[in-house]
Amino acid sequence: MTLSPRQQNIAVAFIVLGFFVMMFAWSGQIRDVRGREFPLLVSGAGIVLAVLDVIAHTDTGVGRRIGLILSGSAHITDDGLTVGIGRELTVMLWIVVATALMVLFGLVAGIPLFVFGYSSLYARRTLRQSAIAAIATIFAIWIGFELLLNYQLYPGLLFAN
């Protein structure tokens, strides 16, 4: 089920509202008075703002007026909102994969694996092109960081002693 841009925005506004409500409750548990003041103030303001945001995106008179003054709804751009959730999730997954590869196998192994995988599976390049991209990337990074800057590239959880 795909939501219209307006519906998506309202959903997001609700999520944001939920976040601030949670932070408000959490802040209430801070023991020291001075440690509580600002967080409560800010998360409280956040709740108010989020509610305004929800209203601003609804198709009501009040909503439109708020939107006009504070520009909440006036600019629901289409940029990316109708791209299709499949493609989005795929790319986001690739980021997770990239991070996981680098964390587990270290940067020297993880980077070429990631570049190769992304190039061949997602960008649909030929295997040769992907391999070249992978090797070129890690080579450049290795030269730049390990050699020139004397940085230790992360060895990865599996290989670290």
């Binding site: 801070i30 990631f114 004397n150």
Partner: protein, 505 residues
């Protein structure tokens, strides 16, 4: 003083000195350009190298790095919408749209020229202000810091234009993020869920890398194609000269930006990131066409860029006069000074005039040199915007994650960068400005700390914020900042009503 200047020039203009300066400039440009690395890292890496050198050569290297880093960060900000350093983030707003219109050359040209001029201006201010530096630095206490932080937060929110409400929301979220970790005021630990890594809070640079670099790559990856969105790419070569001309044409903007940069840079603790954002905000607010900002208005590049390098001059004021570093870079620089036996403080300028002026000279030459160097490779660099996205994306993501780790050798930084990348993309999609979040993250701690300090020092009397003259002045500036968008809105409404009345029925 003229004596000192001549001495300084003399010490620098040796083969060694120039060589170190050149090295510093190259290092600065490269480190500035790569997200995650930056001036602080560059200085920390190269300090050991200066150990055996003469002090003035070390000054040349330091000056070279400091003057060039900002421009390096600006180049990636314009070409890829991913600022290499936090302070270049403001340049993205109008720099990247210009690149998308095929005008990357112009943007970089304007940026380079502005930062040169700004840097020169900052140095002039530094030298001029030195005599009263003490009094200036000493008059800023916790109350003033609080007002300064508040001013920063408000200006940024006000400058988000058409996304004010969501800008505030991002800002509030950023503030909550700033409160994670150890709170030095209450001595307590907040929101860490027992995770040791979060004790120091959510780190700024990995967040920046994620929100801007990685998020942008996600977006590019989804949309595909190339960075350049339009067909008019032929302008790239002519662009640079056009950009330089534009800078001179807009000299009031340059002056304004430089002034803001030096003043804010001089206040220890507030930081240069804020300077460029406030400069952007002010430039937009005094402009006759505020609605053009964010879409490729060249003034939106000139303003912040003038501020960035001017702030270096400003940041040296408390650093040299008191040994109180105005920023993280300055703290590392101080370490280097001490290593060379140049103890900062009131006596430094008297006892070591030559070395100090060689630093100032180095900084000056560096700004200009960096610009020349940067501009000469601009033509090649702008080609990046033509590169196929699917080659660019994995490369930039890899470098970003490497950079995030390189910062402090903490695994957590890489994970934060990745998480922020995912969040950043959603923020792009739903029009939540990321900039207010970053600024809030930077200023949140300062604001809260200063407020409680001021209150404790005044034994709980709120009036302290109004009775102290500088604090009161800043408060007035804050109110003006909040008022301008509202006044604008009312004026525009009245004009449109008048227009409707005037048109034939």
């Amino acid at each position: 003083m003229l004596n000192g200047l001549i001495q300084g020039l003399h010490l620098i203009l040796t083969v060694h000195g120039i060589g170190m300066l050149a090295l510093g400039v190259v290092v600065g440009l490269v480190f500035g350009a790569i997200p995650g690395l930056g001036g602080t890292t560059a200085m920390a890496l190269f300090i050991p190298l200066t150990y055996g050198m003469q002090s003035q050569d070390a000054m040349a290297l330091a000056g070279g790095i400091m003057g060039a880093v900002a421009f390096g960060g600006t180049i990636t900000a314009i070409l890829l919408n991913t600022p290499g350093t936090p302070m270049s983030a403001a340049t993205c707003f109008d720099g990247y749209p210009l690149a998308q219109q095929g005008k990357a050359g112009m943007a970089i040209g304007a940026a380079g020229m502005s930062s040169s001029l700004g840097g020169l201006f900052g140095v002039v201010i530094l030298v001029a202000v030195m005599p009263i530096a003490r009094a200036l630095v000493l008059s800023f206490g916790p109350a003033e810091f609080f007002m300064m932080a508040l001013l920063g937060l408000v200006s940024i929110a006000a400058s988000t234009g058409g996304m004010f409400l969501r800008g505030l929301i991002s800002g509030a979220a950023g503030l909550m993020m700033a409160y994670v970790g150890y709170d030095s005021v209450s001595g307590g630990i907040r929101y860490t869920l027992g995770i040791d890594y979060l004790w120091d809070g959510i780190p700024l640079v990995p967040t920046l890398i994620g929100l801007f670099a990685i998020a942008e790559m996600i977006k590019l990856s989804i949309i595909g194609g190339r960075v350049v969105r339009t067909k008019e790419f032929g302008e790239r070569i002519v662009g640079v000269r056009e950009g330089i001309r534009a800078t001179f044409r807009n000299w009031p903007t340059v002056l304004r930006g430089s002034a803001i940069g030096s003043v804010i840079g001089a206040i220890p603790g507030v930081g240069g990131t804020v300077a460029s954002f406030i400069a952007y905000s002010v430039t937009m607010q005094v402009s006759k066409h505020p609605d053009r900002f964010g879409k490729g208005e060249i003034q939106g590049v000139i303003g912040p860029e003038s501020a960035i390098n001017a702030k270096d001059g400003g940041a040296l004021i408390p650093t040299l006069a008191f040994g109180i570093p105005g920023s993280a870079e300055m703290a590392v620089f101080l370490g280097m000074l001490v290593l060379h036996g140049l103890e900062p403080g009131p006596l430094l300028l008297i006892e070591h005039q030559g070395e100090m002026f060689s630093l100032i000279v180095a900084l000056t030459i560096s700004c200009v040199f960096a610009t020349i160097l940067g501009l000469s490779v601009t033509r090649w660099l702008s080609l990046i915007t033509l590169v196929d996205v699917h080659i660019l994306v994995p490369a930039v993501i890899s470098v970003s994650l490497v950079g995030a780790y390189a910062l402090n050798n903490k695994l957590g930084d890489v994970i934060i960068a990745a998480v922020m990348g995912l969040l950043g993309y959603q923020m792009i999609k739903y029009n939540f400005p990321r900039v207010t979040m970053v600024i809030a993250l930077v200023l949140g701690d300062l604001a809260e700390r200063s407020f409680h300090q001021a209150m404790q020092l005044s034994d709980g009397h709120w009036t302290v914020f109004i009775t102290r003259p500088i604090s009161a002045t800043l408060l007035v500036l804050i109110l003006i900042s909040l008022a301008i968008p509202v006044v604008r809105f009312l004026l525009a409404r009245r004009q449109s009503i008048a227009a409707k009345k005037g048109s034939p029925g």
